[in-house]
Each structure stands twice: as structure tokens, then as C-alpha cells.
Amino acid sequence: MKRSIVVSCVLLALAVAVCVWADAAIERALDHADALRLRALAMAESGDEKGAVETITRLAAYWAKCEPLMEMLTSHEDIHRVREAFVSAKLLLQRGDHVGFEESMALLGEWLEHIHTLETISLANIF
């Protein structure tokens, strides 16, 4: 019995540690990606299209770096949708389609928020 209690306590500690670490890692990635998204939007709105494209490229590079870890922690479909959104936003901006660009960036924000919502402990998620 003593061994079962010890094993359960170790397992509980490990599970809590993994959950806390995973939450922190996902939040960090999402926050940084959203910050880059907002910066790119602000640059495009102020007329600095080149700067906006560079920022989206940085966002793409950052997301590619985070992807292996993110794919271990959350749904692959959500991660790929984020990537699709900023690839689409970059192409639209390069073509001069500002309306389409803003729509894509809004969608990107929604997907980032969606991942954040899924990872949050809430009554909606539990039930």
C-alpha cells in the first residue's frame, strides 16, 4: 500500500508539473505570436508594408521554431490553421490587398485565441 501511495504521489507531481510547464510554454508561444501579429497590423496600417511583411516573416520563422513543441502539446490542426492564416496574410499584403490582409490577420488572431481558450481551465472546457 505504501508503494502505491508513493507511486501515486510521484505520478501526481509529474502530471501537475507537465500541465504547468505545457501551459506556460503554450502561453509564451501564443503571446509572442500575437505580439508580432499586432505589430505587423500596426505597421501595415501606418503604411509600412515592407516592415509588415518582414514582421510576418519573423512570425513565420518563430512559429516554425515553436511547432515541434506545440505539436506535442496541442492539436496539430489548430497549429496548421495558424500557419495558413499568416502565410495567406503575407501573400495578400504583397499583392496589395489590404482588406484581405486585415481579414487574414483577424482570423490569425482568432485561431491564436482559440488555442489559448482550449488550454484554459474553464467550466466550458470541463463540461
Binding site: S4, V7, S8, A15, L73, S75, H76
Partner: protein, 238 residues
């Protein structure tokens, strides 16, 4: 494709480890909360195996949570009778002194046909031979014969019979079982000498078991079965 294969191997290994950690009862009769656990485990493992876009942690963490909860419930059941009866239920006597308790049967949602089926599964054909029937917490039925319907045993005949303990398997599939030899207070040298004396090669023995009577019964791979006198009565230590 290889990914699915590797995920299946990892999750299967985790499942085996989890079931071993939960104890041997998982493999035999299940309490209600253990039965629920078996159902949930299967589903938790199946989804991450088949769906690569679901992280492996989405299968492993719930399994860990269930192991922790199961251990807590098991400890509660071991430490408290009240907790055990609340979580697992209590055994119920549905027949006593040969009389069926219809109310008890109805509370268990059992019919008389179910009762008779349980009695037959215990090897009793005639319900008139039954003294008592208990339905255990795990749902299994245990039926007990009336004294006059029980087979004769040595005690009824006042016969003195020797003790019959657990036979020790000394050779299994040609391999010597050292732990059992140690239990018998002997070593491989003794076994080799005994077998050589009787013209038997240990590597060609399929099964050799040492009974508490001191007889070593062995079956060779050729199919030949022999009994060798291995120990005297006072040499039997286990």
C-alpha cells in the same frame, strides 16, 4: 505510417505498465469502479494511436489521472469498510437455509433464472442441494451445498491424510527454476545428480514438479512421464 506504429508501441507499453501498477485484481474479478476503468483505458489509448494530430500526452495524462484516482479509491476501500461498501457495494445473501430471498433478488435486479444459472456455474445441478447463495460485490454468484449434499472428505471418514502443499516446479521448458529449487532447500547440483541417477537430461525435460510427498514428477519432451522419489518426508521444508 511508421509514426502510427511507434505511437501504438508506446501507448501499448504504457497500458501494460498501468494495468500492472493497478494490481492482479484487474485481470480477474472486477469491482464496479475497476470495470469502469477498463472501459475508459481502452478508449483513451485508441484515439492517440490512430490520430497522429492528437498529441500523445492527450492519452498519457488522462491515464495518469485515472491511475491516481484508482489508487485513492483502492486505498479508501482497504482502509474503510464504509467506503468499500459505498464504492463497491456489499455482498448480498439471496438464499439462506435453502430458502430464496425474493426481495433481495429483486433489489439486485436478478431473476430466479439468473440465480439458478449462478448455482449451476458453481457446479450444483439440483437447487434442493443448495444451502446458501451469496451475490458478491463484483456481481459473481457463489453457491454452497447443504452439508448432506457435499462430497465426502477425509475428515468425514476420520481418515488421517498427509499434508498436501504447493508443488514446486523445478524445470519448465528445459530451464531450471532456481528460485523454486532454493525454496526446496536444494541446488542445481542436487537436481543434476538426481536426474543423472535416473538417466534423465534436464534440457530434455518439459516439466518437472516436486510435490510435498517428496515425489518428482517429470515429463520429457518425448512425451514420457516418470515419477522419481526425490525427497524423504522430513526433507520437505516448504
Amino acid at each position: 505510417m511508421a509514426t502510427i506504429f511507434i505511437r501504438a508501441v508506446l501507448l501499448y507499453a504504457l497500458l501494460i505498465a498501468a494495468i500492472r501498477a493497478l494490481g492482479k485484481r484487474q485481470l480477474s474479478q472486477l469491482q464496479p469502479y475497476e470495470f469502469a476503468l477498463s472501459l475508459v483505458f481502452a478508449d483513451l489509448v485508441a484515439t492517440p494511436i490512430a490520430n497522429i494530430s492528437t498529441p500523445l500526452l492527450h492519452g498519457m495524462l488522462p491515464i495518469a489521472a485515472i491511475i491516481i484516482l484508482h489508487t485513492a479509491l483502492t486505498i479508501a476501500c482497504m482502509c474503510s469498510d464504509r467506503a468499500r461498501s459505498f464504492i463497491s457495494g456489499r455482498p448480498v445473501i439471496v438464499m439462506s437455509r435453502g430458502v430464496i430471498d425474493e426481495l433481495a433478488l429483486r433489489r439486485l435486479s436478478m431473476s430466479v433464472a439468473d440465480l439458478l444459472e449462478g448455482v449451476r456455474e458453481c457446479g450444483i445441478l439440483d437447487p434442493g442441494d443448495v444451502e446458501a447463495v451469496i451475490v458478491e460485490a463484483d456481481g459473481s454468484v457463489n453457491a454452497f451445498r447443504k452439508k448432506e449434499a457435499e462430497p465426502l472428505c477425509a475428515r468425514d471418514l476420520d481418515a488421517r491424510v498427509g499434508r498436501e502443499g504447493i508443488p514446486l516446479v523445478l524445470i519448465m521448458d528445459g530451464k531450471v527454476q532456481r528460485a523454486n529449487l532454493a525454496l526446496a532447500g536444494k541446488d542445481e547440483g542436487w537436481l543434476s545428480a538426481l536426474l543423472a541417477e535416473n538417466g534423465v537430461d534436464a534440457a530434455r525435460v518439459l516439466l518437472a514438479s516436486l510435490a510435498t510427498s517428496g515425489d518428482l514428477r517429470l515429463q520429457e519432451r518425448s512425451g514420457a512421464v516418470r515419477t522419481i522419489r526425490a525427497l524423504s518426508a522430513n526433507e520437505v521444508q516448504w
